[in-house]
């Protein structure tokens, strides 16, 4: 029991520290609670969504907070889902937190789904080449 609980903790701690360092260096874009975006979002950095996004997101890292909602496709190196997501995710690293509500497909190489998260859909595994060579999204 204890061993199981400790392992994810040790994994999470360095991840968050690393993300904090990244945010200090590269610009972080935040969409607050009251923000609603329709369209395509492209960012060479990190995006934190606490508002609503209807459309496509392309970023290095995407974090959906428990208040956030995304309808559409996300392409990133790392995706952390803490809120609502309807659509597809293409990311080598995917973390689904306990507050997440996901409906759709999560294309991943490494995935972590926390106990309590609602995942309705598929989580297909893909080799790393798949993400590196991802020029355009395959249609549903």
């Amino acid at each position: 029991m204890f061993a199981l609980t400790r392992r994810p903790d040790t994994r999470k701690a360095p991840d968050r520290k690393a993300s904090g360092r990244e945010s200090a260096g590269s610009p972080v874009s935040r969409l607050g609670k009251g923000v609603k975006v329709r369209g395509i979002l492209e960012i060479e950095g990190e995006l934190v969504v606490s508002g609503q996004v209807f459309g496509q997101i392309a970023a290095l890292k995407v974090t959906i907070t428990p208040d956030g909602f995304v309808e559409g496709d996300i392409v990133a190196r790392e995706v952390v889902i803490g809120g609502k997501l309807e659509g597809r995710v293409y990311a080598p690293t995917v973390l689904v937190e306990i507050t997440a509500q996901v409906a759709g497909k999560l294309f991943h190489h490494t995935i972590e789904v926390m106990r309590g998260a609602r995942v309705d859909g598929r989580t297909p595994w893909r080799p790393l080449n798949f993400f590196e060579n991802l020029d355009h999204l395959p249609e549903a």
């Binding site: 972080v28 969409l31 369209g39 606490s50 926390m114």
Partner: protein, 173 residues
């Protein structure tokens, strides 16, 4: 009655038997509670900060906000906000609506706001509809500045001016 009496004392010994049972179970709820704490830190970082659209972000589409936004990136589309700050490296192609718009970057389109501030580095191509405007020296404006003091004030002025012209025409001939 004897049956009921016999039943009553039974739960009492059963209770102490039941209480030790949850004790070994207690580690399980603790284990499930632990993931809760790591979820809150991203919420803490996300909530207090106002919305920021950083340098590296490009949005193609509409942006709506009920709170203040800082734009340092590139937006190809309309922006609707309350307080909108457009940074010196930002580019917006489209109309910016808001209560207060502060521009230090580039807009190719239109501004419609109650209060408009054009900084020295501002580059505005298009019309500005405002109630209150401040322009610093160095700002580039290619377009019209249209003051709009509410529609109720503007209409009576145009109504009174037209009948005067009509009256003056017949007297002149």
């Amino acid at each position: 009655m004897a049956i009921f009496k016999s039943n009553d004392p039974k739960p009492e010994p059963a209770k102490p038997a039941a209480t030790p049972a949850p004790v070994p179970e207690s580690p399980r709820p603790v284990a499930t509670a632990q993931p809760l704490s790591p979820v809150t830190p991203p919420a803490r970082t996300g909530v207090p900060m106002a919305s920021v659209i950083s340098k590296a972000l490009k949005i193609t589409g509409q942006l709506e906000s009920t709170e203040d936004i800082q734009i340092d990136g590139e937006i190809d589309g309309d922006v609707r906000g309350v307080g909108v700050k457009i940074g010196s490296n930002a580019k917006v192609k489209g109309t910016v609506y808001g209560d207060e718009v502060e521009l230090a970057g580039t807009i190719d389109g239109k501004i419609e706001a109650k209060k408009v501030i054009l900084n020295g580095t501002a580059r505005m191509t298009g019309d500005v509809v405002h109630q209150d405007i401040k322009i610093e020296s160095g700002a580039f404006i290619d377009g019209h500045l249209k003051p709009e003091f509410g529609k109720s004030g503007a209409k009576p002025a145009s109504v009174t001016s037209t009948p005067r012209q009509l009256q003056s025409v017949p007297t002149g001939t």
